[in-house]
Subunit: 211 residues, 2 copies
């Protein structure tokens, strides 16, 4: 994860200041990677989308790899926010339902590319981008792990039956979300995607005391 020191309110470095909005440029880069993927987005694509020349990109973000990683963090959001969202949900099922619904909306936004950046940007790539693929996989694994933790909590509190497998359920939820990304890219409309999401929840286990 890339973390920012928010404590210091812009120390203002010496020298010529940036002539562009770094965050806005990062946002444009994120959208470009989202639409066209990591390796299949060229620096030329990025300069066009960001409105920034190549040397400026390199001074402001490092190289293409670091720019992507930063864009990915912007896309994925803070893991703490996910954790908080999981913790605040009444049940793991509610949290999962929210995640699936949010994904259906996010993957079919009219002002954003289709699908999920994490699912598509590094779904394939050459050998020398293996580290980037691993970084994306790590984000996914983190999501699975936190989801598993939330499900475990419901099992411990008897909200879910002891027979439920938190590991399997967490993996299945992420699989459905990443699969929804594929369908969204194929052109499936939002309503259909929402139905897929709720359909996937049909198999969610229920405690004996509830059913």
């Amino acid at each position: 994860m890339i973390t920012m020191d928010i404590a210091t309110p812009t120390p203002r470095k010496p020298g010529r200041p940036l002539s562009f909005d770094r965050q806005a440029a990062l946002q444009r880069a994120m959208l470009t990677f989202w639409r066209h993927g990591y390796e299949t987005t060229s620096i030329s694509d990025l300069t066009a989308a960001m409105g920034v020349t190549a040397p400026s990109i390199y001074t402001a973000f490092g190289d293409k790899k670091r720019l992507f990683l930063e864009a990915m963090c912007l896309y994925a959001g803070s893991p703490d926010d996910l954790q908080q969202s999981l913790d605040q949900a009444a049940t793991a099922r509610d949290a999962v339902s929210d995640m699936l619904t949010s994904a259906a909306y996010a993957f079919t936004g009219e002002t954003t590319p289709r699908g999920c950046l994490l699912a598509s940007a590094t779904a394939s790539g050459s050998t020398d981008s293996a580290d980037v693929q691993k970084a994306v996989a790590d984000v996914r694994r983190d999501i699975v792990a936190r989801l598993k933790g939330r499900i475990d909590r419901d099992i411990a509190t008897k909200v879910l039956p002891e027979t439920a497998s938190a590991t399997t359920l967490a993996a299945m939820v992420v699989a459905v979300i990443q699969g929804m990304s594929v369908l969204a890219r194929d052109g499936l409309e939002r309503e259909s995607l929402l139905k897929v999401a709720s359909c996937a929840l049909e198999g969610w286990p229920v405690s004996q005391t509830e059913g």
Copy 2:
């Protein structure tokens, strides 16, 4: 679809014959696209994997795009075979269970790349590969459509309740399969993937007369 005229038993063209096994080379190309994707596989990668020089690839397969499409057809298999498999299954649920299990095995083969070629090879790409992405999406849509047809049959014969949505169920199955590809690429082992598959089947609807 690319179809072959099997009726003619090798008409033997005039001129110098191919010095390599075209089918074996295509197989190697398929594995390379499977592992590294369409745009992120270079002609140089293909010549190395296929053991064939670039000009020979172009004379034998056309260009990179047509080579990929042919490799994709080799990977996907004949739609008729899928249809036959669907028709021969006792129930749509059985057919889906077979598909999910087969996917779990295929995505974690020890002698093949991880995941699904259809899911990863064109998950993202530049604008000028939009037609290739569409070709892959068409294969997926064909699978969804045939799956829907099989589910509709079970609804018509009361094997599945009338309340079931064949369209949604078919889309969910494909979503799970494509999502399993992502998890397989992330390194999830076969056993876990099989559990995800059976977990996804938990929500499969049952007719009143059966339940």
